[in-house]
Chain length 416, copies 2
């Protein structure tokens, strides 16, 4: 079977780079995500059954059901889930991407990101900031109270402002942020204040009152991860633009649910290739050690899949204070990633490498041939439900998933 | 005479680094700058007479007199100046620092920056943004109209917001911005949006109405040099903190008026050492060449004097798109500056050099001994009054001023 892999891959990376995701609004998951159901909880990573779910995902599921008013505490939530009345599905099956546990429930306000090239819409929740948060598996009353404020105040205010300003172009914003020492995943300090600054005039004009405007601007400006969720939905839109091209060996999804690490490949349809989620090499917050750490978790690795995050670390030397290492590691990581990527990004460039494009489009052939695994920067959640973040660091996917995908590719396209 | 130069220099750099300048408010120059007079125009650089003044300073002086209502056009302004009724003095003689022409007139709103350690107050005008602006020597009606808006709307709004939020800590903000790929002089993209983001909630709360709040936030957020002027006043406060220490060979002022480049040295009192302002090695805007360029001009080199700007270029590789060169030059420039500086900054650090402090405290002994001149990043103004900016690039001071200062030092302290 004469499939032209090079041509297919070229098409995939072109589509990924030419996608132009714009944050256009905020709405309730049940109203805006096609197929969302009242008893459905979306989670990060590949599909997984309740019995194998990681602590932080369980904790976030409890929190989501409490938030929804479907349970009054974790015990009720657990009973409800074990009764079989609640369905679970990966965010990725619903055009979405969620950080860490990635929990999205029907009433939650979510960002709507539209790819202006294809019209494709992708989704992600509102970012809660750092500390004790649902995405890290925490579900105490303060966590739920913040989610309610986000739904009642933050979400509607953002929606009005986004509509007033005509949306925020994520590709343009990320291009700028990479020149301001963000990696686009764990370090979004610049992107988050660019976002805040661009939105603020519209927030002022459209918020229901002055106090709300000031409160929302402060919340966005104080949170260095404000823009993480729309960035993830934007990267999802870019990667989806490249998905489903026959004969392509480019990875279009990487995601972890805290138990398994899964990938999808453009030319291999919707099949997941999974292996065990890795242990994160991390800097821990005071009072925590690696014994507390859940394995690698979250959909945020969609940023690396799109050519930023760990792949763009050469733009972000200051990130080493957060995830460990020295500045030289940041450069070397990016240089390594060129070895396994198909191209260099047109719009995401690295000043320190004289504006060379970021490594983009992971090629499963190169990963297997060179024995170099994608590098991921990530936060670390406590392994038990209800605790929260304990550190941050670096991790790689299990090698077998690239090997398995390559075998499947060979079988499908007749190279076996 | 047994002066302990090392001890003196150590004291100077400690004082410079420990100064903590905070932007506390905005007021009219005549109300807030001690000694400001109704017929006094402050300008950048060392003292200069009208006949030797550079085109951009003349243009800015015309504009200032038109803005003050003291002349209706450039001809009237010129006649008024030549009548001898207008006095000129360096910004630096009035605790101030002004970018490019540096013109400050009595009615202009200026930033008040207070060093919380010494209580010293320093001043700088409000930044006009890029393009056709007074500081580049332009004085057309649109330039004057913008100055009026800045005085009537921007200034009072900023003053109220700064008071509401308790002021903006410049040292903390700059430390963060240097980790976000700013150099602190020509590249202030991050610092300006950090400033906007920190001020925005207070602007929303205190502005006279919603439209004003939105307009001011947008003006600040869209201008990548919004914070240049308060940064300059802040660096002036840091440098002044180190000035006047007997026996010190550290430079505490560098400044250019477009004709002369002048320095002052901590241990040599208020004497200026001057030489010809250099030709800037620049990237020119379309339609302009080096024939259009005025020599080096402005007080903004106070940033390099304080240990940022050109000295911190290793933090800001993206600046090469603005001033020319390749990324490696940015690193090398910073490495060179360590050769002529007394210390490494405690609070301003460079991620790419594994958080080494920026080169701080230019030592005239080292400049002369090593033959390495301070590196300055700068904008370039048209040489004729009324035109504006024509490019940006790099420049060094004339070597003689360091030699002259060293000779004066030797004479004063008995080494001759």
């Amino acid at each position: 079977m004469a499939v032209d892999i090079e041509k297919a891959n070229q098409q995939v990376v072109e589509r990924m780079m030419e996608a132009r995701p714009v944050v256009v609004g905020v709405g309730k998951a049940r109203d805006v995500i096609p197929g969302m159901k009242d008893n459905l909880l979306l989670h990060a990573g590949p599909p997984i059954t309740w019995d194998r779910m990681a602590g932080p995902v369980k904790g976030a599921a409890y929190g989501a059901l409490i938030f929804e008013g479907m349970a009054k505490d974790d015990k009720e939530a657990q009973a409800l889930i074990e009764s079989g009345k609640i369905e679970f599905a990966p965010c990725h099956h619903y055009g979405s991407a969620g950080p860490m546990a990635g929990l999205m429930s029907p009433s939650m306000m979510v960002y709507i990101v539209e790819d202006k090239v294809s019209g494709r819409k992708c989704f992600s929740g509102l970012n809660e900031g750092r500390g004790k948060v649902l995405r890290m598996g925490a579900y105490s009353p303060d966590v739920i109270a913040k989610l309610k404020w986000m739904n009642d105040v933050l979400g509607p205010t953002l929606d009005a402002a986004l509509k007033d300003c005509g949306g925020i172009d994520l590709r343009a914003l990320l291009g700028k942020a990479l020149h301001m020492a963000d990696d686009g995943h764990n370090r979004l300090d610049a992107a988050s204040i660019l976002y805040t600054t661009q939105l603020a005039p519209s927030i002022v004009k459209t918020a229901k009152d002055t106090n709300t405007a000031a409160e929302v601007i402060k919340f966005l400006g104080d949170n260095a991860l404000s823009i993480l969720n729309p960035v993830m939905a934007g990267c999802k839109a870019m990667c989806d633009a490249g998905h489903g091209v026959e004969g392509s060996t480019i990875v279009t999804v990487m995601a972890r649910n805290g138990t398994d690490f899964g990938i999808r490949v453009s030319g291999l349809g919707d099949r997941w290739f999974t292996g065990p989620a890795g242990k994160v090499k991390a800097l821990y917050f005071p009072g925590f050690t690696e014994k507390d750490a859940n394995p690698d978790i979250g959909d945020s690795v969609i940023t690396e899949t799109a050519g930023i995050g760990g792949f763009a670390m050469a733009t972000a030397p200051a990130i080493v204070t957060f995830i460990g290492g020295v500045a030289k590691d940041a450069i070397n990581t990016t240089l390594d990633m060129y070895e396994i990527c198909y191209t260099e990004h047109k719009y995401f460039t690295i000043p320190f490498l004289d504006f060379r494009g970021t490594p983009t489009g992971i090629d499963i052939r190169k990963v297997v041939e060179k024995g170099i695994l994608p590098r991921v920067n990530t936060g670390v959640a406590h392994k038990d439900p209800g605790v929260g973040q304990v550190g941050a660091g670096v991790v790689t996917p299990p090698a077998n998933i690239f090997e398995d995908a390559l075998v499947a590719f060979a079988e499908k396209y007749g190279y076996a």
